[in-house]
């Protein structure tokens, strides 16, 4: 039994921020890392009936180690349903049954557009990224999208180089132009410094809360757009003892979450 202290690492706080966006009974499509940890925190705390699926074809897995990919072997034994990409991405996601999707991106802009395709020119890229994978359909078809990003001026952007996954595209009304429902789309950007929520009217991300140890000034400085600040801006509530217990004892006893420290989530 791990002794719980109120000390925590940033990735734990970020995972808790994600968990708090999940309601009981939500169907959540997750990748690996944060999303799976977040959804599991929710499941083991306030949302016991939340259920997860992975795009590879798995629903309600029972992994005994944190999955390292959406195709991880640990997702197989004990799942409620295993099928195909078409089953999960077509029948469940495109069919309209997914409440929450988690996405991360190498570049995220103020309207929640995400770039996982290319930095620089498409034809002659400065840096070629993996591509959409499941991100584009998750971003368009999940009812609520939670975005995870590093908080700096390289990862956050006024306008992404390439819209792999549309958020609110060019702002209010843009989704409707494409026949996409206006009430779906990105909900928050959870970074290693802050939680930024999307304004219902302007569709732009504003500062909702700053993480303990981070300041508003620091955050504004590291955000490439003219960041609006909520009237009730506040410090992000730190992980509760219960949340930390769940992360450390149930979800990730091997502390695989530490790899995010190396990736700059500090």
């Amino acid at each position: 039994m791990t002794e719980i202290t109120s000390e925590y690492i940033k990735p734990e706080l970020m995972a808790c921020c994600g968990a708090r966006e999940i309601k009981d009974g939500d169907i959540v499509i997750v990748g690996t890392g944060f999303p799976a940890v977040s959804a599991n925190i929710a499941k083991y705390t306030h949302a016991p009936n939340a259920k997860m699926m992975q795009e590879s074809g798995v629903y309600d897995a029972n992994p005994r180690r944190p999955a390292l990919s959406v195709g991880d072997p640990c997702l197989n034994p004990g799942a409620a349903f295993i099928g195909s990409l078409v089953d999960v991405m077509g029948m469940f996601l495109q069919g309209g049954w997914v409440d929450v999707g988690f996405l991360s991106g190498s570049q995220v802009d103020k309207f929640g557009n995400i770039n996982t395709t290319v930095i620089g020119d498409y034809i002659n890229p400065k840096s070629r990224l993996p591509g959409s994978g499941g991100a584009n359909p998750i971003g368009l078809l999940a009812k609520k999208v939670l975005i995870i990003a590093l908080h700096d001026k390289r990862r956050l952007s006024d306008k992404v180089d390439f819209i792999t996954t549309p958020g609110y595209i060019d702002g209010p009304g843009s989704r409707a132009k494409w026949g996409l429902p206006e009430d779906c789309g990105p909900e928050v950007i959870i970074t290693n410094k802050a939680v930024m929520r999307f304004d219902k009217h302007t569709k732009e991300a504003y500062l909702e809360s700053y993480h303990p140890g981070n300041t508003i000034e620091e955050i504004v400085e590291n955000t490439p757009w003219d960041l609006k600040i909520a009237d009730d801006v506040h410090e992000t509530p730190p992980p509760t003892d219960e949340e930390l217990r769940v992360i450390r004892e149930i979800i990730d006893p091997m502390r695989m979450i530490n790899i995010y420290l190396d990736r700059g989530y500090i």
């Binding site: 195709g71 072997p73 034994p77 993996p130 078809l141 819209i163 996954t165």
Partner: protein, 311 residues
């Protein structure tokens, strides 16, 4: 009429330069023995596809066998980005692969359409994204936006895909090719059935009677199959549920090797060109890393309950 043969025979007879090849699996059951053999036989100008590509596709691209890639994604996942993929697109090493990019919804639907014999299928993704602004060798035929004739709204259509050959690795098949899978399916069923011919690589060949004990598990029927190759450990360093775990050690070994052109070539020289077949590969693996490591990958066995189809 047995279709059992060696992987060398299967790839040599049924994969031709310039072919369009579907390769199933994503970490789960990638047909790595077939992939190594394709590289070993120095096939050229292949068009390859799968939803979610990983180290196997990276290796094919690095080895120079690929001309075109109908893609959604290529990454080594936990190990990082695909180095050969990046070198190809960023620096043209060994040459610049042509990409036609879709998503993990639209591409599986296109394979499904191909398997179902229909010319196209509507999808609800990609709208509003720059994926609709880029097209490559499909040109104008990458997608079409039409007016839905039932209600006048816009509808995005993507074309059916029918690869020349589909290659999958499964848990078991009979000698005629009835192929059975348990666990994550990915796009193996639709992709294989969309293909004009199918090469089945399997952990074990079983009798037709064993197939008949549980026919709901068959994802490809024998009449679609041209070759059956028994390749135990054939998905390594990926995994096969019920047989072995993913090999993280070997996966990061590949990632480190592929960081440089030289390292990648040395990797191929050792693990692809330096062995004749999967048996020699496995022998080398055990000699190099020890039987304990090999044994450690072997799956524990957690029985399902039997069912009955009888009446």
């Amino acid at each position: 009429m047995s279709k059992v043969m060696t992987m060398r025979e299967a790839i040599s007879q049924f994969v031709h330069d310039g072919d369009f090849v579907f390769i199933g699996g994503y970490i789960c059951r990638p047909p790595f023995a077939a992939i190594h053999e394709i590289i070993r036989q120095k096939k050229r100008n292949l068009t390859i596809t799968r939803s979610n590509a990983a180290d196997d596709f990276d290796m094919l691209i690095g080895a120079g066998v690929v001309k075109r890639f109908i893609s959604t994604f290529l990454s080594l996942g936990v190990y990082g980005l695909g180095r050969c993929f990046r070198r190809s697109l960023e620096k043209g090493i060994p040459h610049k692969v042509e990409l036609e990019e879709y998503t993990n919804l639209s591409l599986p639907m296109m394979l499904m359409a191909g398997a179902l014999g229909i010319p196209f299928v509507p999808v609800k993704d990609m709208l509003g994204s720059d994926l609709l602004k880029i097209s490559s060798f499909f040109g104008e035929k990458k997608y079409k936006v039409i007016e839905n004739p039932f209600d006048g709204t816009p509808a995005l259509l993507v074309p059916a895909l029918n690869p020349d050959v589909g290659i999958i690795h499964v848990q078991q098949a009979d000698e005629n090719g009835n192929a059975q899978v348990w666990g994550i399916e990915g796009d193996c069923k639709w992709g294989a059935n969309a293909s004009k011919k199918v090469i089945v690589s399997c952990e074990r060949i079983v009798s037709r009677e064993i197939i008949g004990k549980d026919p709901s598990r068959t994802i490809v029927p024998d009449f679609r199959v041209v070759a059956v190759v028994q390749e135990p450990f054939g998905a390594h360093p990926g995994y096969a549920p019920g047989f072995y775990d993913v090999d993280l050690m070997f996966g990061s070994l590949y990632q480190r090797a592929s960081n440089t052109v030289e390292g990648f070539q040395e990797f191929l020289d050792e693990w692809v060109f330096g062995v004749q077949d999967r048996t020699e590969y496995t022998q080398r693996y055990i000699e190099k890393f020890g039987y304990a490591q090999f044994k450690n990958l072997m799956a524990e066995f957690d029985y399902s309950y039997p069912v009955s189809y009888s009446y």
